[in-house]
Amino acid sequence: MNSRRIQILVIVVLALVFGAVVRPLERSARAEIGREGTVGEMRSLSTARLSQGMSLALLGGYRPIVANMVWISMNNAWRKRDFDTTLAHIKLATSIDPRHEMFWLNGARIIANDMPAWRMGRENIDRLEGTIEGSLIKQEFGAQALALLREAVVRLPDRPRLWVEMGVIEWYKMGNLEGAAEMFLEASKMPDAPYFVGRIYAEILERLGRKREALSVLKEMLADLPAKDPMAMVPVVKDRIRRLEEELGRVGE
């Protein structure tokens, strides 16, 4: 073996030894950056719809860009009202980059709101509104949207807006007020839940005839609402508490 080959061999061995020395630092940084298990996740992806270049980009660390390009492609399919491609791209984008809340939320909204309208057709929307056929179509797509969001809350358990969206779909698409109440209750437990979550939860409880519970919820949330923030709508909450107290007071009589 000539000296050049020996030199190359020595360098390779040195590189391996150096790699072993820095490996603990590498693993620690990889854990902190949240890159562990990414290969396992990607095994579950259907890369059949991705080109070779996109698959390489996906594995090479350009995952957010690939997901964004899939989403833009979905947008084109959405404009053409293409059911299958839109749905497939929504699922693909959320699989590739599950950390992006917007993919889950907007994907669910497209499925729950736009797809029923596509199915009915523009000319039939008014005719089918309030009919059994119309309700069945809404529920079919509502169930698909809820399935997508249930997957989302597993990936992103600390996002109140996902629970709010599930609550809205249960209420307006599935006609399930009890289900909607559960979703809004979950959302209200989260520290960064928007102010309106508690108000809507109380509203739903009122509609279900659970007025004492609704009053209790409103009183509890009033204690934490900032008086000077107009988004908190403190006067509205106080007004609703007063109204419920009057109603419950009359019932008591």
């Binding site: 360098i11 820095v22 940084a29 902190e32 950056i33 890159r35 660390g61």
Partner: protein, 287 residues
Amino acid sequence: MKTAGRERSEIVFRWSGRRAWLIGKNAFREAIRMRFFAALVVLALAAFGSSFIFKEFNFGASELKFIADFGFGGLSLFGSILTVILSVQLFLGEIEHRTALTLLAKPVRRSEFVLGKFIGTMLTVSCFVAALTFVLVLSLWIRESQLMAETPEFFPDGRRIRYADVGLFGLLHVLRLGVLSALVILFSTYASSTMFAMLMGFLVWIGGQLQHIASEAWDASSGGISLIAYAVASLALPDFQLFDVGDKIALGEAVGLGLYAKAATYGILYTAFYLWVSFFTFGRREL
């Protein structure tokens, strides 16, 4: 007489950082005059500019993530292309044109030459990354201001983008490209043609981006030849994805200083190692 001559050569050939710096400055001047560099800057800026088409899709506040993702990706892609080509051109180009012989005939150590070329490459790459990072920050700032005015309800806590983190990302990227440059220079100390050195440079870049696959496979492997193969593949190259905190920043997540410190240490260690080996290999190369 002999003793005096030996003493004189020791004084002339004492290692000098200043000589390396002068070589580096000259290499930098040469690099920024390259048409390729100007073309890449224009291409990268055009790619950044095209990110404003996302306005047409009405993504709302999420548009900022799209702009950030494409910005970070562009920095990574164009920065890596520039680093590989510059590292080879500035180092091996001089050897191929025989101008290195003239320089090394002077009292210049070979390690000073290697370090100088590395410095020249990194000065150029740093300017490129700084310019693109500035443009990205400006794009995000302008678009975020517009979105805050149009849809204030999506910005209850003020601005979402942590601009300091975007700047730190740029710095981290310079370190990543430093590792890539040092590795390409190491290959160049052996290569006999620029084409071969560039090919190896691009392969090493792709290998480094995919190193995490081998690393995870090594952890999951039960044994045998596959274990050895995965171990060699993951130890032989650095993991370039360790420097990629861009998706965390784009999602509005905080990036701890500890992570920056770990990635920076990793980058500096690998750069120093590859340069040290390059000093050794170039010292024995016949020009």
